[in-house]
């Protein structure tokens, strides 16, 4: 079995590559970075997902059995500043790959990493595969359109193309652009006396948090099923950013009032207040379950960050 993973240097890409290699897959990974961690067995190709010629050439040359499209401009806040780049990376390559599959590589299975950002408050959560899609950022709009294109190509051309609608997931490998990594790094720095304050945006936001290492395990399961379909992947629970922040503060023996500062520029326009999943479909039909709790993930992240910053 040969898999091709886009965005292999990202959090999800790296966990998925490790998982598939351990399952005995041959794995080709692409990303834009020049260097990569030396994951034994991974065939790394440097190139941009947004480069149509490169991608078409690579897919025809490699002829993978499965494509996992995890590459994206994944920062929601930044998508407001770079909406067109977000479109070019998150949507156009999906169209190009699906076109190539339906014209030349019909037997290749395709998994699209979709995002819970497609949903907003109304109607009430939890969100499942039939919930109303109502995206409210350029990132979410690009992901929602890609989600529909996957469905359109599956229905029109009988492609084995699936959406994995991933709710928030994190790990020690999460990019520093994201809230959880930012607070863990910031608070460990404060603990070490490297800085004094942590700036935060709106802490009332409630989200469904899971472990990236668990979520990537759902992806090959989706492609192994007899029928191509779309699945929501989440824990079914939610937690406010404030609760997570307090958990980390507590672990590090820091006081909220002394170190946390609100910065209004970090508040995203128009952010949904509470987003969480109903993952019963994937639990019932594919038997997938999240293994780690968010507290365990936060502990891992704190430990990894302490180690990175040196000393005890």
């Amino acid at each position: 079995m040969k898999a091709l993973i886009t965005g292999v240097l990202g959090q999800d890409g790296s966990y998925l590559a490790e998982y598939l290699l351990a399952k005995g897959y041959q794995v080709v990974g692409i990303d834009v970075g020049s260097s990569h961690s030396s994951l034994p067995g991974l065939e790394y190709v440097q190139g941009s997902l947004a480069d149509g010629e490169f991608m078409n050439g690579l897919l025809i040359e490699q002829r993978p059995d499965e494509i996992y499209n995890l590459g994206s401009v994944s920062n929601v806040s930044r998508s407001f500043d770079r909406p067109e780049e977000t479109f070019d990376v998150n949507l156009l390559p999906v169209i190009r790959m699906l076109e190539l599959l339906r014209r030349q590589l019909k037997s290749v299975k395709f998994l699209q990493a979709s995002s819970s950002e497609m949903f907003r408050q109304e109607p009430d959560p939890p969100f499942d595969e039939n919930s109303l899609i109502d995206p409210c950022s350029p990132y979410a709009v690009s992901k929602a359109a890609a989600y529909h294109l996957v469905k359109i190509y599956r229905n029109t051309y009988n492609l084995f193309a699936c959406n994995a609608v991933l709710f928030n997931h994190t790990s020690p490998r999460h990019s520093l652009d994201f809230f959880v990594s930012k607070i863990v790094k910031g608070l460990v720095e404060i603990k070490r006396g490297k800085k004094e304050k942590l700036k935060v945006g709106n802490l009332d936001i409630e989200k469904d948090w899971g472990y990236a290492g668990d979520y990537v395990k759902a992806m090959p399961l989706i492609l192994e099923h007899q029928q191509p379909d779309d699945y929501v992947i989440g824990t079914g629970k939610y937690l406010s950013l404030k609760t997570m922040l307090e958990y980390v503060l507590n672990k590090l023996n820091l006081s909220y009032n002394k170190v946390v500062e609100t910065d209004p520029t970090l508040i995203r326009p128009n952010e949904p207040k509470r987003v969480y999943s109903d993952p019963s479909k994937i639990m019932m039909s594919l038997g997938w379950r999240p293994e780690k709790s968010i507290e365990q993930v936060l502990d891992m992240m704190i430990e990894a960050e302490m180690e990175k910053q040196g000393g005890k």
């Binding site: 149509g52 407001f80 909406p83 067109e84 479109f87 070019d88 949507l91 156009l92 169209i95 190009r96 076109e99 109303l132 899609i133 995206p135 409210c136 950022s137 350029p138 709009v141 690009s142 929602a144 359109a145 529909h148 294109l149 359109i152 229905n155 029109t156 051309y157 326009p269 128009n270």
Partner: protein
């Protein structure tokens, strides 16, 4: 008071040309973008050439859009330019996304970057609904299920329009227009193909009309009525999205029957599925045949819009309905043949 300035993308299309006429009649300075092309057809606006200002631009060229918006400083922008053919979008999905989806984003960004206070109208489409059984009649709250690359690209444009309104307070409206036709409809669209064929048939110029799915149901209105709704949306107190439709649905088959009746031919039908044929009941001559080549890869079966919000909030309602629409189109095609 100086007259209002409008910028219309896609001014040489059916809707663009009617909208230009409407805005000129209201005293607007009308600017329109024209794509440079060796074979581009401007016949719909030839009669307006000395009244409108034409600018070369392209929805796939951001810097030209920015310059144009700075130069014109429009009060209203109507984004009607698009690759608007559903079946063709299956052949050119990437181009359709570039033009219809990201083209809209580029205009919204140009408005944001130049800081020009202009209202924005986005031409959205009932194809975003995908005609899911059980969702009709479709209104502003009906979930979207696009079934073509065109529907998905237009849905991106709709959502990004809503997003810019909510995030930046732009006066941006999305008009979800159901099918709207006229004598200026492109000849590769089914309604115009039928009326043109009916006109040619009575003049013994055409043998057979080849069609796709005869049972597809559409809510067909009259384009000049619909461009008035676009203008009304931008005159409202606050920006919002509206479904524009007649609230009636008819099959392609009914459209055929009505068109040939207008041309003096009573059609009968025989056979089933792709073998079905429409014939002239007087002469038994075969007039209509089904050609699977015209089937869409994924068919949208049933579209019926509920325009009550536009009625209530904008005071808009369609003046021309199905029977009269077909009559106008056939009469125009017969006239054209006489020329």
């Amino acid at each position: 008071m100086a007259s209002k300035r409008a910028l219309i993308t896609g001014i040489s299309g059916q809707d663009g040309s009617y909208l230009a006429e409407l805005l000129l009649s209201k005293g607007y300075e009308v600017n329109g973008t024209i794509r440079r092309s060796s074979s581009f057809n401007t016949s719909r606006i030839d009669h307006l050439f000395d009244k409108i200002k034409r600018h070369y631009s392209d929805l796939t060229d951001s810097s030209s859009l920015n310059r144009l918006i700075e130069k014109i400083q429009p009060n209203e922008i109507y984004n009607l330019g698009a690759q608007s053919h559903v079946k063709i979008s299956f052949d050119v999905p990437e181009y359709t996304a570039e033009t219809d989806a990201v083209g809209t984003l580029r205009i919204l960004d140009a408005i944001r970057e130049t800081g020009i206070r202009t209202k924005f109208y986005q031409a959205s489409t009932s194809e975003m609904f995908g005609g899911m059984p059980g969702t009709a009649p479709q209104n502003e709250n009906t979930p979207f299920h696009p079934r073509s690359p065109y529907g998905a690209a237009k849905l991106y444009a709709h959502w990004i329009t809503v997003n810019y309104r909510e995030s930046y307070g732009l006066f941006a409206c999305s008009g979800i227009l159901f099918n709207h036709e006229s004598p200026r409809r492109g000849e590769n669209f089914v309604t115009r193909k039928i009326t043109k064929s009916a006109a040619r048939f009575v003049n013994n110029l055409q043998d057979k009309l080849l069609l796709g799915n005869l049972d597809a149901k559409r809510d067909w209105g009259y384009a000049p009525d619909y461009v008035e709704a676009m203008w009304l949306m931008l005159q409202a107190n606050k920006p919002d999205d509206y479904v524009i439709s007649t609230g009636e649905t008819h099959t392609v088959r009914e459209f055929c029957e009505k068109a040939f009746t207008e041309a003096g031919v009573k059609l009968g039908w025989k056979g089933k599925g792709i073998e079905e044929k429409g014939y002239d009941t007087k002469t038994n001559k075969i007039v209509v045949e089904v050609n699977p080549g015209y089937f869409r890869p994924a068919e949208v079966e049933y579209l019926l819009g509920d325009p009550s919000k536009a009625g209530k909030m904008l005071g808009w309602e369609p003046k021309i309905r199905f029977a009269e629409l077909v009559k106008i189109m056939v009469a125009a095609d017969i006239d054209e043949l006489k020329k």
